[in-house]
Amino acid sequence: MENETNPVYKDERYGQSRELFYFYEEGGKFEKKVGYHPDGSRIILQQAWDLFNERIEEAKQKALAGKVSPVVYYMEKTLVSPLDLSMHTGISLWRVKRHFKPRVFKRLNDKTLAKYAEVFKVSIDQLKNIE
């Protein structure tokens, strides 16, 4: 079942590493082999990344149109949920959710913005103006 060649991904950085897998063959033999992961794993992993990318793109469009704040875009880009984001920044969940509104986001002070910028690994300027 293991693959001898690497599975092909849309993103070519993926699927380059070989892992250890256990197998059972009829007749009672447990074996371990090192190989690339099987095609099934490739599909489900790609599915997850597809959803992430879709959400990032959607959030980006909304943020550019001014419907949501850039926090939403960067949140999707770092693959976190609002609850995770609240844990990462140390800002309470309901405040994080409020910061999703552009109107509230505009009034944020630099201290709060810095917290977000640190988690998203961008500068405050980039946080305010997304490309």
């Binding site: 059972y24 009829e26 693959l79 949920s81 609850l83």
Partner: protein
């Protein structure tokens, strides 16, 4: 500048691999499946009220840290476990421990782990790896997922040790420092099997063990109607990712557990366990088939009869097999 003579062995599951490698360093030869079994690694739970990466949590393993705790305790090794609030302090203690000549296991988050395969780089804070030395300011790492030993810089290591979010590692480090050379593994193996059998069949809570698999199967039948095509497909994908993704050694640890039972039959000299290990192997193959059909379903390449109903039936079949296996195992003496 320390470099310990640590043997890097790739393994299927990160935590039991790390534990086995650490014990191996101290001269206690023990295989990965044996650690996994003694540490009661096998589990099942489905928690629809907890969301991870936009889908309900399905878990095929016990809480992180448990395998190391249980396995080392069962063989009578002396261990230390530390967590920290101050990152600086945690790195200092790590350095001091390495200088004493003890390799250290670390719990880390995977999102910022530079050498980790990019397709797995999501927020997952329960990964384990071993630090076995320091050279030119960067640390030597044995990560059981990666084929070869790797290195990581001071800043990167500090960041992954203090990754935030759910199950934050808080710099957790652990190591055995005194390991008995020879020990009768029999009581440890028996206790491990009994505990796992209890988890899988005995817990009076519907979301855990065999009951959890049945519950998931019931829910799965309604996914399409309840959530629509796209979301149902993603939920199914999430179950499969938990089952097959990095660090399960395939089929949600069922293969590795089968290998454990196979080995245990010799260790405690009870040949009937070998027959059960074959049943476990077949069960694991069924899980593998489930994930195979499921992934085709995710790609919308499934034949019409391979619907969610069929997948749910496959799960029921697995649940039935596992119930039989663990009812027998619970009678072990």
């Amino acid at each position: 500048m320390t470099k310990l003579d640590f043997e890097h062995r790739q393994s299927g599951h990160c935590e039991s691999g790390v534990t086995s490698n650490l014990l191996n360093y101290h001269g206690f030869k023990i295989s990965e499946p044996l650690v996994f079994g003694i540490g009661t690694g096998l589990f099942f739970s489905y928690l629809p009220f907890l969301k991870m990466q936009h889908a309900p949590v399905t878990s095929f393993r016990v809480w992180p840290g448990m395998v190391f705790d249980r396995a080392t305790k069962a063989i009578g090794a002396k261990t230390r476990i530390h967590t920290f609030s101050d990152p600086k302090e945690s790195m200092d203690l790590l350095d001091r421990t390495l200088e004493k000549g003890i390799p250290v296991g670390l719990q880390v988050g995977t999102f910022h782990l530079p050498f980790f395969p990019p397709e797995y780089r999501m927020h997952y804070n329960m990964h384990n790896m071993v630090v076995y030395g320091k050279e030119n300011g960067s640390y030597l790492i044995s990560d059981t997922v990666i084929e070869k030993p790797v290195t990581i810089t001071y800043e990167d290591l500090m960041r992954v040790r203090f990754a935030k979010g759910a199950f934050a590692p808080k710099g957790r480090m652990y190591y055995p420092f005194e390991v008995p050379s020879e020990i009768d593994l029999k009581p440890a193996v028996i206790a491990g099997i009994r505990k796992t059998a209890y988890y899988m069949t005995g817990v009076p809570f519907p979301l855990i063990g065999v009951k959890g698999i049945r519950y998931l199967s019931r829910r799965m039948r309604n996914w399409q109607k309840k959530y629509g095509e796209a979301k149902a497909s993603y939920y199914l994908g999430q179950v499969l990712r938990m089952e097959e993704e990095v660090g399960t050694a395939g089929a949600g640890f069922r293969f590795i557990y089968g290998a454990f039972l196979h080995e245990a039959a010799d260790v405690i000299n009870q040949p009937w366990l070998r027959d059960i290990s074959f049943e476990m192997g077949e069960n694991a193959n069924k899980w593998r088939e489930f994930s195979y059909v499921g992934s085709r379903n995710c790609k919308k390449r499934a034949k019409p009869e391979e619907s969610y109903d069929m997948l749910a039936d496959m799960l029921l079949d697995c649940a039935g097999r596992e119930e039989k296996i663990f009812r027998k195992l619970s009678k072990i003496r």
